[in-house]
Structures are given as C-alpha cells and as structure tokens.
C-alpha cells in the first residue's frame, strides 16, 4: 500500500473537544480509535467463547485495560488487532483456569484474526447459528427439542419439561444426554 499521511479529526465518545492529529492511514490515530474500531467485535468474540454477557463484558474490559496502556500507535491496524487477540487469548485462558480449571474454549490470534478484521461493521454475521443448527440437526427429535427449548428459546427446565410433557427430572436427564450427543456431533462436524 502506498504510504500517505492524512489529518483526521478524533471524536471523543463523551464529546470532548475534537483534536487534530497526523496519522498513518494504516494505523490508528489514538486509543479511542482502537477502542471504537474493535470493541464490538472483541466483545462478540469473547461472548462466543463464554456464552454469557457478564463474563463477556468482564473479559472484554480486561483485554482493553491490559492492552491499551502500553499500546504503541505506530503499529499497523493488523498488528494492533493481533496484539489485542494475543491479550484476549491470555485473558480467556486465565478465566477458564480460575473458573473451571481447564481450557473449555480458546482464542487463536491467527485463526481468529478474521473476526477483528475489516470491514468494520457492528452487525458482523456470526457463524454460531449455522454451527448450532448443524449440531441440532444431527440429533434425534427429542434431544434436539430439549436443546432448542433451553438454549434457543430460553425456557427454564420446568417450562421445557411442560412443553415436552415430561417430568422435570426427565427433562434434566434428556438435556444431559442431548448435550453429550451434541458434543459428539460437534466434534464430528469439526473433523
């Protein structure tokens, strides 16, 4: 890419006075630009790895707190994103070590780089629904239904039991067995 310099106006989220700064178009003008450009997608990535909003928010916060302080803005956007992902990898690994004692999910700075890459959109499509759909499609009807009720339709175990006309205990057993089979199906899909 040809090197060029430009003057950009940096807008603060909180409405601070705008500032003018000469920057490399391949890089970020300031930490605010790094934040604005990556917060959505980094949160989405973290959410896909932990499956709940409270942890996803905490871990996303930890990544930015860790990474932004020492960040040197002379780095390119790609390098900054790679750095964010490397930080996210460590933060997520520590999270699982603290909470479950084993790495349930992980971030690979190389293969996950696409999740932070251009184009910058707030509605980046996730492959989570497609992947979930494939896993569910591989299950027997009752197993698929209990997981749909619980994970996609947000039913409590009691509501799911009523919908399937079984006892709560049976619904728990169904869910447990369905998840075990879904885990196998997920592994087979990856292979």
């Amino acid at each position: 890419m040809p090197f060029a310099r430009r003057v950009v106006r940096s807008h603060s989220i909180t409405g601070d006075p705008a500032r003018l700064r000469v920057v490399d178009p391949e890089g970020y003008a300031d930490w605010e630009a790094v934040y604005r450009d990556n917060i959505d997608r980094l949160y989405r990535l973290m959410y896909a790895r932990v499956g709940n909003r409270p942890d996803a928010e905490d871990l996303t916060s930890e990544v930015f707190r860790t990474a932004l302080g020492p960040l040197r803005l002379a780095s390119s956007k790609g390098e900054v994103r790679s750095y964010l992902l490397t930080t996210a990898q460590t933060v997520l690994a520590s999270h699982w070590r603290r909470t479950l004692g084993l790495p349930v999910t992980s971030i690979d700075p190389e293969s996950d780089l696409a999740s932070l890459a251009e184009p910058s959109k707030t509605e980046d499509p996730s492959d989570a629904p497609q992947r979930a759909g494939k896993i569910l499609a591989a299950l027997p009807d009752r197993y698929r239904r209990i997981l749909e009720l619980r994970f996609l339709e947000a039913c409590t175990i009691k509501e799911a039991a009523q919908a399937m006309n079984v006892s709560v205990s049976n619904a728990k057993v169904l869910q447990h067995r369905a998840l075990r089979m879904a885990a196998k199906a997920g592994l087979e899909l990856e292979q």
């Binding site: 896909a48 499956g51 302080g69 960040l71 002379a74 603290r98 569910l136 947000a154």
Partner: protein, 217 residues
C-alpha cells in the same frame, strides 16, 4: 456430583447469568463447549450493550489520564496481573534489547514502537497458595535475553521470598530472591532458558516452605 455442578453451570448459561466456578472434569469440557456454542447462537446477548461500551470507555479514559506509576502498583492482584502483562507487553512492543534487571516502576519513556510481540513471546502465570489465594503474578518474555518479571503480595511486611522456575523436563532453575517491603515485592531477571520450556514457578519462604505455585499459560 460433577453432573449437578455441570447442570448448574448450564442452567446459568441458559438464563444469561454468570455461571459459578467449579472443578470440571476433562470429559465435561466438550459438553461445556457445546453448551456455550448453542447459547451463543441465541440472538440478543451477542451484541454489546451500549451502556457497557460507554462505561468501559469512561473507565479507560480515566486509566489513560492516570499516571503510569499508579497503573503498576500491585495492590489488587487480579488487576495487577492485567497490568503486569501490559507492562511486559509494552517492553516487547518497544523491542530492542531490554535490560532485564531494570525496575518496571517507570513506564518506558520512548514512543518508538517497532512491532507487536509475537503471540508466543509472552507467557503468564498466577501464583496461588495451596488454598487457592492469589499471591502474585509472573510474566516470562522470550527474547535475547529471555527474562521473567514477577510481583507478590504476602502477609509478612519484610523479608525475602525465593522463586524457582520449573522446566517441563522436571529440572529446576533459580529465578532469584524477592525482597519484601511493606508486604509486597517484585523481581525482574534474565533467564538462560527458552520460556517455552517453562512449566511453572514456585515461591518459597526463607525457611523453605512452599508459599505459592504458578503454572504458565
């Protein structure tokens, strides 16, 4: 026993709550991974909340305006590890030859960045007592030379704590002695080994008792 805690974890996931911690069995990992994947497919929570984005921005702005020295004060251990990695990463970002015995109390003054640390350049660990209390953090950097940096917070106000590094082949390398002042201490030192050969680190009291252990991520 594990099934009950597994169910509670999954129930929290389904309800959108923060799941509780428990010691998971390796055979649970794939089930948990599948549950997370299914939960992540539900529309809604995958988009960051506007209030969260705004609040985090405010918090980061305050962090950016605070002094670098304040950022590295090891009072809150969970945050300290975060800052520890940040400081270590910043050294790697600046590149060049780092004087490993230099204190990290001051942030590097230069802005002349030469690159971002490679994903394998840093390894981190948390010192935990046998009871699971966090005692400190350790960061290892792979370079020429490689080095480790660690900070600890202990109940004793003064004294020394010795750190030993454990290699994957079972051998032990002394990292050095940490001088404790006011209940905290830190140590940075070059090490003559590839950090990828490191398995963990242990802290010992002056009487030889194991205070805490860390496993590198």
């Amino acid at each position: 026993m594990s099934d009950r805690r597994l169910f509670s974890f999954i129930d929290a996931l389904v309800a959108g709550r923060r799941p509780g911690a428990f010691k998971a069995d390796p055979e649970d990992a794939e089930v948990l991974r599948t549950a997370i994947a299914l939960r992540a497919a539900r529309p809604g929570d995958a988009t960051p909340d506007e209030q969260f984005v705004s609040d985090l921005y405010q918090s980061l702005a305050e962090q950016a305006n605070s002094s670098p020295a304040a950022n590295v004060h090891p009072l809150r251990m969970r945050r300290a590890r975060t800052v520890l990695v940040a400081v270590a990463a910043s050294v790697a970002l600046i590149g060049g030859t780092f004087v490993a015995t230099e204190s990290f109390d001051q942030s590097p003054a230069t802005n002349a960045a030469v690159g971002v640390p490679h994903r394998d350049a840093l390894r981190t660990g948390t010192f935990e007592t046998p009871k699971g209390e966090v005692l400190g953090q350790i960061v290892a950097y792979n370079g020429h030379p490689s080095w480790v940096y660690m900070n600890v917070g202990v109940s004793q106000s003064t004294g020394t704590v010795m750190c030993m590094l454990q290699l994957k082949d079972g051998s032990i390398v002394a990292a050095g002695t940490i001088e404790i002042h006011g209940g905290t201490g830190e140590l940075s030192k070059s090490i003559p080994v590839d950090i990828h050969r490191l398995r963990g680190a242990q802290l010992f009291s002056s009487t030889g008792a194991v205070l805490a252990s860390a496993t590198f991520a």
